[in-house]
């Protein structure tokens, strides 16, 4: 869908049949239209090439991501498998994970299972950032890579290795020396993920 297509869709805001169902048929992501408008303007400001999609260079221009230890992984999360361009739909979809969870929003008219910003889906998003090879397991090496990114270069490999071993041993319940998604969820059950993984921007 090109830029013009999106503009048409956004014009739904002023259309007469403004009901929620129609809106959600057009956007199967749980964002209100004011949020979508804001995201769209942000998308537009990031898109220097004006071609309706973002490339990796556009993301790397963001100063906050350049100094972030997890910068590369976050950028990768916006690009679907094997592609080099992120369109607005993908952009929105990724960011929709970070919408705060609302108790009173039941989303009964959504037919597609759980909303993107549910606790499980938020955790799945984080899990996928660890699990690069998408085998649904965080292996010791994947964990080591993330640890190395977070900790910097001054710490020896042995120390990181023992931390990684300890981490896996703590979380691993089925003995496969990897952290599966269910083990990941279990380990984080005491952490307030709903608050930690929500941005006020999408409030």
């Amino acid at each position: 869908m090109g830029l013009q297509g999106w503009r048409n869709v956004l014009a739904l805001k002023t259309s007469k049949n403004n009901n929620r169902a129609a809106w959600q048929r057009a956007f199967p992501v749980p964002l209100s239209h004011s949020q979508i408008t804001r995201l769209y303007s942000r998308f537009h400001s990031l898109d220097k090439g004006e071609n309706g999609a973002l490339s990796r260079e556009d993301f790397q221009r963001i100063p906050e991501l350049a100094i972030n230890p997890l910068g590369d992984r976050i950028i990768n999360a916006f690009f679907p498998e094997g592609e080099d361009q992120a369109n607005f739909r993908g952009f929105m979809r990724t960011l929709a994970h970070f919408r705060p969870v609302e108790d009173n929003e039941k989303n009964k008219d959504l037919t597609s299972g759980e909303p993107l910003n549910s606790r499980t889906n938020k955790l799945l998003f984080a899990f996928r950032l660890y699990d690069l090879d998408r085998d649904d397991k965080i292996s010791r090496d994947e964990l080591l890579q993330v640890l190395r990114m977070m900790v910097g270069v001054n710490i020896s490999d042995e120390q990181l290795g023992s931390i990684a071993d300890r981490t896996i041993q703590e979380a691993d319940t089925n003995g496969d020396m990897c952290i599966s998604f269910s083990e990941f969820i279990k380990v984080l059950e005491k952490v307030d993920v709903e608050q930690k993984m929500s941005i006020r921007f999408l409030h």
């Binding site: 995201l39 942000r42 400001s45 993301f59 963001i62 100063p63 906050e64 991501l65 100094i67 972030n68 997890l70 590369d72 976050i74 916006f78 960011l95 970070f98 705060p100 108790d103 984080a126 950032l129 660890y130 085998d135 292996s139 010791r140 090496d141 890579q145 993330v146 640890l147 977070m150 900790v151 910097g152 270069v153 001054n154 710490i155 020896s156 490999d157 042995e158 120390q159 023992s162 931390i163 300890r166 981490t167 041993q169 703590e170 979380a171 003995g175 990941f184 380990v187 984080l188 005491k190 952490v191 993920v193 608050q195 930690k196 993984m197 929500s198 941005i199 006020r200 921007f201 409030h203």
Partner: protein, 664 residues
């Protein structure tokens, strides 16, 4: 076997008796060699001779000098320290006693029992005819309160506090202001309507009374909330509010006192009052911050004098409190700021033993202080001059509850618009119900001068009644109410490296996402603060190599140390040797080792730590076999990860820097 006793015996019976007595004693004592027994006999003989000399002297000239006072009483010399120690001993014994009666401590919170004890002690003293001591305000504010606040501030959980800072500040400032003015106004109206004795109470006095009574008390909140184990969010909301509303209370108290003294209020004065609030609050925080930085800086150089490290922490904090009190700034906020600023740096610098010492001393002092405060409250109730007035007291109690509920509900409605995790009705109820009043209100009322406030006694009585009501009624019923409403309790979580890693991971992730959105939110600023901290501040304040240590590593080290200590304490050496042999064939026989998996991992860690320095090869082979089994899973993926693991095992020492360029 005292010398005086010997002398007495000597006078009554012959020397032979004493010899026999001493001889008996010497022979009976175990473990003494013959030589030692002989020596003791010589010493005793010497003693007898001296005694005889003295005795002879006494006997020879009884008329020239009075009898040498063998046993005399000089109580005045030790009176002050003796009485202080006696009170503290009483308080500690009471605490001990409560925990021996589990039935009682399960139903009634400790603070109630302590007040009852205080009442009994006060009654006892009064029955004995003396005047029971009243809780001296200076003693309270300078000696009893600081340890509790320091303990609270030093161990304040920073993350929940900063996440809810907006809510806490709103409750503390706006909530307290609302309480003060609502109570003052309605009380004034009631006094006007009542006439009679209450007619002389003017608006200013009512407002002052309101400002004293409205403040939620940290001591009482701590005492009650500690026992109900409520979830972290509610705990930090009520507790944070009780700490931060001190600034408001101090300003309003001094303001109204000044106005009452001056007799006239202008708009300019009100404006100055608002300015004063900011000065008091921010000034207090600044003073605390300065002392905190000084303490952190000092702790950098204490590596050779580890013994006095805790002393620095205590002294700097106390000085911060006193310095703030000199300028009428908020001492509580200074103390909290000092503790919060000082803690991460001091903990990185001091030894583990000093850390334990600080922790236990703070807990001990704050516990004793709390106990003493409640006992003294009880005693002061018996002692103090009372002027009971049914109307005033009952209206006060009703108003306290009403204004608190209205304030909380109203503010939550506004706050929920800005919060991500909204406060439910249950949460609001607990926050409202947890607004306990305590000894600070009493002490502030006690400080009032009787000239400006002729109704001081009535105020005191009303405040004591409110305190009793909140502590007894609210304190006792909050636990069953928490259970009834099924409020979430605090999750008992032992520290987990997983949680730490993943929490940090999420923080980085969120900071990045906020960058993508272009939104300078919470995570962005926290990220920036962390970077500033790491780059500049840690270098100054943390000595040695630990300034470069990432937070994750220090967390991990602390955890390991704790586990190793636990292991040493709990396990006997026999178990340890059995576990060592079982540790090695780990990969193969998984099922049989499941029971001691935890322990065997600890043992491996300790072994690893020991062997790391001396024999690198053992460690080396360990990693080699480890990645060997993993190589199979990696053959199907991109080749660069395969080579990464390959170089990692074979020459991890030499290509230390190289491996990193590969992954990036």
């Amino acid at each position: 076997l005292s010398l005086s006793g010997l002398l007495e015996k000597k006078r009554s019976a012959g020397i032979s008796l004493e010899f026999k007595f001493c001889g008996f004693f010497v022979c009976e004592s175990e473990g003494l060699t013959v030589k030692m027994k002989k020596r003791m006999k010589m010493l005793l003989l010497l003693g007898f001779c001296c005694g005889m000399v003295f005795g002879d002297q006494n006997r020879s000239d009884p008329h020239d000098q009075r009898v040498f006072p063998v046993l005399s009483i000089n109580y005045d010399y030790v009176q002050m320290p003796f009485e202080v120690s006696l009170w503290i001993l009483l308080a500690s014994l009471m605490k001990l006693g409560f925990h021996l009666l589990p039935v009682l401590s399960g139903v009634v919170p400790e603070s109630c029992l302590l007040i009852v004890v205080g009442l009994l002690v006060g009654g006892l003293i009064r029955v004995m005819g003396k005047n029971p001591p009243v809780l001296d305000s200076q003693l309270f504010f300078l000696c009893l309160l600081p340890p509790i606040i320091l303990d609270a501030g030093y161990f304040l959980p920073i993350r929940p506090f900063t996440e809810n800072a907006g809510t806490i500040l709103t409750f503390a400032v706006l909530g307290t202001l609302w309480n003060v003015f609502f109570m003052g106004a309605v009380l004034y109206g009631a006094c006007r309507l009542e006439a009679g004795r209450l007619a002389s109470v003017d608006l200013l006095s009512c407002l002052l009374f309101g400002s004293i009574v409205s403040a939620v008390d940290p001591v009482a909140v701590l005492a009650v909330f500690e026992e109900i184990h409520i979830n972290e969010l509610l705990h930090i909301l009520v507790f944070g509010e009780s700490l931060l509303n001190d600034a408001v209370t101090v300003v309003l108290y001094h303001l109204f006192e000044e106005f009452a003294h001056a007799g006239e209020v202008t708009v300019g004065d009100v404006f100055l009052g608002v300015v004063c609030f900011f000065v008091v609050a921010l000034g207090g925080v600044l003073v605390g911050g300065v002392y905190g930085v000084l303490a952190a800086f000092t702790s950098r150089f204490t590596s050779h004098t580890r013994v006095i490290e805790p002393l620095f922490v205590f002294l700097y904090s106390y000085m911060a409190y006193l310095s703030a009190e000199v300028f009428h700034l908020s001492g509580i906020m200074a103390l909290i700021a000092c503790g919060v600023v000082m803690r991460p740096y001091v903990e990185a610098n001091i030894s583990h033993k000093s850390y334990t010492t600080i922790k236990y001393f703070l807990k001990m002092w704050s516990s004793v202080s709390e106990t003493l405060i409640f006992i003294f409250l009880g005693v002061s109730t018996v002692a103090g001059p009372h002027a009971w007035n049914w109307t005033f007291v009952s209206i006060t109690i009703v108003l306290c509850l009403l204004s608190r509920v209205l304030g909380v509900v109203g503010l939550t409605y506004i706050i929920n618009k800005y919060r991500m995790v909204k406060l439910s009705g249950k949460d609001q109820f607990i926050v409202a119900y947890g607004g306990l009043r305590g000894a600070i209100a009493f002490s502030l009322a006690f400080l009032l001068s009787s000239d400006d406030f002729p109704m001081k006694d009535m105020f005191l009585t009303a405040i004591i009644t409110v305190i009793f009501f909140t502590v007894f009624v609210q304190g006792m019923t909050i636990r069953p109410l928490v259970d009834l409403l099924a409020v979430k309790k605090r999750k008992q979580s032992k520290c987990s490296i997983n949680e730490e890693i993943h929490t940090q991971f999420l923080e980085h992730l969120l900071a990045g996402i906020e960058g993508v959105c272009g939104h300078y939110g919470h995570h962005h600023w926290r990220h920036k603060l962390n970077r500033f901290n790491k780059r500049y501040i840690k270098r100054c304040l943390i000595g040695g190599e630990r300034s470069q240590e990432p937070q994750l590593i220090s967390f991990y080290n602390k955890m390991e140390l704790k586990q190793a200590l636990m292991l040493l304490e709990s396990n006997s050496s026999a178990n340890l040797s059995a576990g060592v042999t079982a540790a090695i064939p780990r990969q193969r026989s998984r099922k049989t080792l499941n029971i001691s998996k935890e322990r065997e991992e600890e043992i491996r860690k300790i072994l690893r730590g020991n062997l790391q320095k001396t024999r690198q090869r053992v460690r080396h082979t360990h990693t080699h076999t480890h990645t060997d089994t993993h190589r199979h899973t990696h053959t199907h993926t991109v080749t660069h990860t395969l080579s990464h693991t390959h170089t990692h095992t074979l020459s991890h020492r030499h290509t230390h820097t190289h491996t990193h360029t590969l992954t990036y």
